[in-house]
Symmetry: D4
Subunit: 148 residues, 8 copies
Amino acid sequence: MTLKVYLSGEIHTDWRDQIIEGARDLDVRFDGPVTDHEASDDCGVAILGREDDKFWHDHKGAKLNAIRTRRGIGQADIVVVRFGEQYRQWNAAFDAGIASALGKSLIILHGPDHQHALKEIDAAALAVAEHPEQVAQILRYVLTGKLP
Amino acid sequence: MTLKVYLSGEIHTDWRDQIIEGARDLDVRFDGPVTDHEASDDCGVAILGREDDKFWHDHKGAKLNAIRTRRGIGQADIVVVRFGEQYRQWNAAFDAGIASALGKSLIILHGPDHQHALKEIDAAALAVAEHPEQVAQILRYVLTGKLP
Amino acid sequence: MTLKVYLSGEIHTDWRDQIIEGARDLDVRFDGPVTDHEASDDCGVAILGREDDKFWHDHKGAKLNAIRTRRGIGQADIVVVRFGEQYRQWNAAFDAGIASALGKSLIILHGPDHQHALKEIDAAALAVAEHPEQVAQILRYVLTGKLP
Amino acid sequence: MTLKVYLSGEIHTDWRDQIIEGARDLDVRFDGPVTDHEASDDCGVAILGREDDKFWHDHKGAKLNAIRTRRGIGQADIVVVRFGEQYRQWNAAFDAGIASALGKSLIILHGPDHQHALKEIDAAALAVAEHPEQVAQILRYVLTGKLP
Amino acid sequence: MTLKVYLSGEIHTDWRDQIIEGARDLDVRFDGPVTDHEASDDCGVAILGREDDKFWHDHKGAKLNAIRTRRGIGQADIVVVRFGEQYRQWNAAFDAGIASALGKSLIILHGPDHQHALKEIDAAALAVAEHPEQVAQILRYVLTGKLP
Amino acid sequence: MTLKVYLSGEIHTDWRDQIIEGARDLDVRFDGPVTDHEASDDCGVAILGREDDKFWHDHKGAKLNAIRTRRGIGQADIVVVRFGEQYRQWNAAFDAGIASALGKSLIILHGPDHQHALKEIDAAALAVAEHPEQVAQILRYVLTGKLP
Amino acid sequence: MTLKVYLSGEIHTDWRDQIIEGARDLDVRFDGPVTDHEASDDCGVAILGREDDKFWHDHKGAKLNAIRTRRGIGQADIVVVRFGEQYRQWNAAFDAGIASALGKSLIILHGPDHQHALKEIDAAALAVAEHPEQVAQILRYVLTGKLP
Amino acid sequence: MTLKVYLSGEIHTDWRDQIIEGARDLDVRFDGPVTDHEASDDCGVAILGREDDKFWHDHKGAKLNAIRTRRGIGQADIVVVRFGEQYRQWNAAFDAGIASALGKSLIILHGPDHQHALKEIDAAALAVAEHPEQVAQILRYVLTGKLP
């Protein structure tokens, strides 16, 4: 049966493409958030009408994005969450919390600098990786039992 | 019936005390993580034996803390999550995700600087406040219907 | 064990008091929404800060009230929903839907005029009554087996 | 994966057709109640036998319709509920409550006149729209990330 | 912690009293249906108004009784269901099905004559007993580890 | 989407065939128990080895049948339970209880003689019918909105 | 609908192949753990980096394997667990516990020597078999009603 | 709130007493299986009647014990499972699986010899300890934040 993988978190590097490329011969369906930063920020007011207050501007957008995010995480077998070098990335950690509470298999992807700050999230994960190709290798192992 | 409130997040200011003080005449039971930073970091190795590798040192501690945290969030009616000015605070966002997925009433507490970065979490909350006394006022209103 | 009853809906007549009075010798704990109409409407802005836009004014208040409402319905064994003669009362029907989906025993209270309009909600209920004293009689029967 | 959308509420205008038309090139499957008003009212007695009492006539019909409604809402990713200008529409609000308790993404569609009366339901929604084309735009954004 | 036991089924012999007597020194709370046959049959019309049609007379009563029954089974740790010598007793088997689907520990009590007819229900039970005192012995063993 | 219907209960008349025939042009998938009485009674010992004691003979068979029954009911949208004129049929009532607790839409099929004895089960159903063709008509209405 | 069967436990004999062969004409989809012992033991360090400490070496591998195992058990209708003659096989018993708590139909496969030691697990199963062909016969009976 | 701890597994040493003694000043309620080996083996036939076949003798006992075990694990916040030096102890691993699937915090207690054989269970745990006093220290830390 098709393995469903949700790719959450950092949207400024091509890590999603690397994983998808590395798993291109496997029976995997990938999903993830809208990665067009501007569309993601402005979707609420673009569709539902402008807001003067930045809080409500963001609020409307975040809720529209939640329609996609909650569905994607809810349908996934595996949720991969990547933490990059910049920004607060609280929504990535928030997604990890949702995935964990829903009993999804969690794979966390981050560099060694974030090890201490991510210890609670890493402790809830079934794998902590540093490089996207490791995630592809995990997907291959889970589906086929083959090691790299 | 006693209102059960879990106070998650930032541990370097006295915001928990302010809320508890503001609600001291109400039928509320507060819970939260271990706020002794050092104990929280080292509990795993102190009890279960030392690790050479910092990752596993942190891992053992994070898992022991999870015993307390998951139980506290799981039993709560309301989960308050405070984001302070410093540190990554990914565990706070992670707790918020868990609480949201479990259907807990979420109150987020943060200053205006973090508004954009916290928009996804704020959008899942039933209240976004700036000051601890507002949280106490919410608890009072929820229990008694009285406004400040 | 104490029977937990949530009294939802119309807030302009004394129907809640009649039920509570009729069940005063029974082991029942009653809960319900904040029935001070003005406080209920303004709680959001009174605690969390004013809004220029009426939509967001109402939004903030409705979310604070939801903290109380969801908890009350979630803890109840029985949810009584009364539909009165005036207003839209969509929040009463909304509460009935939540209670039904959570598997709560639903008692609907309304006059004969609303019979056709409430048929879907009545069909999900375990009792449809016209007068508050009938609700008290039901609570007595459920707890003691005694009929009026 | 096909997005499953349930269209609940008002049955006297062509809003469902507008949404379906606006989403005709998207991978969406729509469902909704029986919109033939007369069939919906009389289905119970037509199949299961006549009733003298209008209450039981309606009761039998409402229960047959519930077989379809509960299944449709239960299978949906998104539940859209439209409140029109006429009638009590309590069943629409009831459906919204069921959808909310089941954790469905809720989109509410109504004109500005109903803003205050629908505040509790709007507060539980991930989007509040005024026009059917906005709903189609949301579905497009959720599936493709494209804004209008 | 108090062991909660629901005693479902046959209401024409004193088997409930025998179990309660046999467990009188144990920390057990017993619950069960209304055992006054007449009150149980007529409660619906007595409180909510008469019906000409026997089907609806029974329907209203069965729903009121369901308020008590569902709560009692839902709160129980153990559900004991007794099948006697007379009547169809379909409601006893129905209660057993509900209890089984809710994951309750099921104890079935019946004479040897019913062995074949009850095989599906017995197969879902954790104990099949013939005499009420065996049920009391089971409760004692479960709470104290003592055998008769 | 294919409507999944489980046909439980009486196995001595052709009521299943009548429903299946009446719904032959609809998108319905039917499931049900093994209706070969002898195979159903003896499956346990035939596969897993003989038992001297009739209780365990039946027990082994009932458990094998439960593998099929629980899966069928668990996957169904609608569970139809027919009570015939003969036998105790406790397993039919047991299936109805399981279906009810799992939130399945329940249709009960029985003659007028059983009305009083089945009142608790009828009260939990969304339809009570007397003839198999009524069930087929319900399935048609639920899927297409067409009345007979 | 395809019957989903998870084959857990002993990996040193060809029992899985025997069952798959015996059910080759049935609509069954089989799943199970990675049965390459070495890959299963070393997958964690092979993909995620070496560990000096055997405990963490095993820990990383066990968690990767859990991604596959939890998904397989979670999707299964039936979980078959085989206990062989050698090794502790605690992971087989652990899988059986998970399957039981998730409400899966459990079939246990073991020789007569283990009867007493496996009594708690056997007692939670719907079938206890000695030979793989019996499992194939059960699958055939469950799907077709045919006995061997 | 009282911390509920279930102590599962090995019954031949005094490890339970050591933990209870080490936690005697804490707000903890302990539960566990019947530890009288003989009573545990024979409870089924002692109460429900003798069986000639050892399989059914054990079966009846295992089911009675399951009434206690499932309730104890189901009510626990923390499940501690100890694996000793002797016997197969499959029921301990089975309890661990149930606890894990129910989302309980799992603490595994075993000597270094069993490390490899228990890797799957250890990987699902929040703590792996070697000595009973470590478990008491964990309970103290979880409740008070104090380290040894």
